[in-house]
Subunit: 160 residues, 2 copies
């Protein structure tokens, strides 16, 4: 294994590790528990499940992997805060979406070559990318890994 | 810049980015605010400041960078939960320790060569490292970056 492959693998393993923690955490809550606020006045577990699913679903387009699965999640879980009154899928549906999105994403990510990981993501122009080579696909994944960790810190406080 | 250097820089930038967010968050709280529980029955901001400082202070030994600065933080902030009754530094002292530890750490980390980042950390034996080359210094930093993000998710809920 080259240094480049090893470096890439460390980052991909961190992503998979955070997803695994999230999977285990969500699996340990009942639907009713997920519907509760994590702390008084704060997001519900259901909202964070939808928020993380929508965030990961957007990666298909951001990383140029094809069409996303659930664009309808953006309004209730990304563009608006919890308790917006917008219609939401049920917790059971969200659990399925979370699983589907991450499984399809894993399939696509496993096929990316090291050189592709260092290519620009779709929200940066070729001109800007020449000046800012950090704005690549792998950097998006690093950012999203920390995003999962951030919300895991909140979800562990959901009462069982 | 080689791919190896770029990959390394992405990871180091993520670490620095999370530290910057934490710095800004801690700076925005008064000492009194940090002393409060983040949610009923949960950790105080002060505990998390001490916990993150102790965790980063341990990196000196784990990454073979020399002696740590504040071993006395382990008992109140790592080996024991919040409200253990053990003596704690004041918030003002903890703010200083947090700053000192991260500044000294940044100096050391900036000097590590790419090849050194992929060397084993001190808690893995040479024999195990041959079989598990992922257990290197950079992997520790990736893990600690996600650890900061995890607790940032909690600290943002501390009331101003």
């Amino acid at each position: 294994m080259t240094s480049e492959q090893l470096l890439l693998e460390l980052t991909l393993n961190a992503w998979k590790g955070q997803l695994k923690r999230a999977d285990q955490l969500f699996a340990g809550f009942t639907d009713e528990q997920l519907q509760a606020e994590i702390a008084p006045g704060k997001n519900s577990g259901q909202y964070l499940l939808g928020h993380l699913t929508a965030t990961h679903d957007r990666l298909f387009e951001l990383l140029d992997l094809g069409a996303r699965l659930h664009p309808e999640l953006d309004a209730p879980f990304l563009s608006n805060p919890d308790k917006s009154g917008l219609p939401q899928p049920t917790v059971a549906e969200l659990r399925q979406y979370w699983s589907d999105v991450n499984a399809k994403l894993a399939d696509h990510l496993a096929k990316l070559l090291p050189s592709e990981w260092l290519q620009r993501h779709t929200q940066v122009s070729p001109e800007d990318f020449k000046k800012e080579p950090h704005r690549n696909k792998l950097n998006v994944l690093i950012s999203r890994t920390n995003h999962v960790a951030y919300h895991l810190g909140q979800l562990v406080w959901l009462r069982k």
